[in-house]
Subunit: 325 residues, 2 copies
Amino acid sequence: MKPVQKELLVVALGGNAFLRHGEKRTFENQNKRIRNASRHLVDLIEEGYRLVITHGNGPQIGDTLLRHEAGEKMFKIPALPMDVCVAETQGAIGYMIQQALRSELKRRRLNKVVVSILTRVIIDKRDEELKNPTKPIGLFYSAGELRKIKQRHPRYAFAYDRARGGWRRIVVSPNPKRIGIAEQSAIKLLVDSGCIAIACGGGGIPVVEEKGWRAIGIEAVVDKDLAGERLATLIEADRLVILTDVDAAYVDFGKSSQKKLHKISASDAREYMSEGQFSAGSMEPKILAGIRFVENRGKSAVICELSKVTEALHGRSGTTILPSL
Amino acid sequence: MKPVQKELLVVALGGNAFLRHGEKRTFENQNKRIRNASRHLVDLIEEGYRLVITHGNGPQIGDTLLRHEAGEKMFKIPALPMDVCVAETQGAIGYMIQQALRSELKRRRLNKVVVSILTRVIIDKRDEELKNPTKPIGLFYSAGELRKIKQRHPRYAFAYDRARGGWRRIVVSPNPKRIGIAEQSAIKLLVDSGCIAIACGGGGIPVVEEKGWRAIGIEAVVDKDLAGERLATLIEADRLVILTDVDAAYVDFGKSSQKKLHKISASDAREYMSEGQFSAGSMEPKILAGIRFVENRGKSAVICELSKVTEALHGRSGTTILPSL
């Protein structure tokens, strides 16, 4: 009984797919969660959906940057720049997902190939945000520590955090509305050939292009949901599915008028967003990714809990964003 | 003028493609070398060769393990196991090669897609070497330090180094004669579709399979040239090309009878090898990889300098191993 080839989904896994808040970031803990996520993803594959999986790297990139810093301090190993650190997290997380997913497929005797593609996102050099690093990452430093780090890494930018009383490294957080996915055609090729691809992890490795040919990594972090929208749009996925740890998006959250959003149009979602209904850096980018996806001809975007993903795709859970009439 | 589709080559880049001995392992130094290597590789592509590129990770995995150790000591971030660390190096190095290669292709107006595939090598569980870790990695520890590390990582194995008077972590170094390449079909697919693939970096991410379905990473290091042979054989490459920093293999090296090997048969190469003509851990695995490749129906294996690779493929430089008559 071969399942019918159904829709192509881009599924974005949030940090909670790897770790619960406060849980120790050991390999064993992360692997247990990833194996759990894989079971839900393979349920989708058994239903006949074709998948491209993308994932966040929030906790992992934080750890990676600290490891590079610690290696430099303890062993004088030069810390590598942000783009290479993102590539490292794509390696580590991509491997863990690919291994868990392929194992679960084999257990169910499904002969699907799973492949992780290192993915670069090409950011428009004219992007205004590139001039203005704002996103703080990593540790707090004293003025003395700052001087030393600046000597070793003259290109890093820093900002003073008044509340915490320390300096912190800052990177740009470009608006990925116009970004390209450098490896888009390879991802499409693999998917069209029946592979399951893992791509664009951690929002992608951020690069700009010079002279029309030379790509150069930059110190930037791209939101993984917004990058996931670009990926889904560019490979012409049918649906964008954003998995998270809340069951749906809400308006008037925590008030007596609180309402769960089941199905909404992109224009209604935009209106709620402009009212500030969604938490910045958490639900808001998910909603925005969903809006952009359907405005770019996607059929629908679904935001739901990992364990409810099959139900959500059948419209029985989560929040679905639909094109405006 | 479109070049004719020529042979499929698996090209193995050694550590010297990224760094000269003693050079500081900064991003800038590594990137400069990789850009240089890319120019030679794109020369091959311009000649019409199809390429799969593999690479070592010797210095990088060393740095990665130390960063994980430093992160654990300074910031209590759990160190991740060997397989995940190899995946991190595949991410970082794969990205750097892919970026340099794609940029050089674009500069020459060649529209080829370059894609890095995270690659796992499946090691036979019955492999005798798996019972016996012998390859030392990372730092030397005192007995006191050892106790602490063993508490944190009960699965690590250690050996006492008499000469240096300290304990050192040891991992297995499986003979990859029988290993499989888990992502082999995806690599083949990409290459057959005209992509340039980067795969099996650092000898591949080492895993074993349990119950016929569950893959589990192990604490192992696979020689990158021997893993490159498996890759080349399994994707049915025409030639295996191993790039290094010496111009060719020699017999009686350093003696008055010294002789450069230009073209040799696999059986002659085996004989020289049994005489101990090649340095263990350096030229010997390259020769062995070449022998195995042609014994597994490969047309020829070439060992040469990076800058002479085009000439070597035309038989004017390096050492070529041919099938025995």
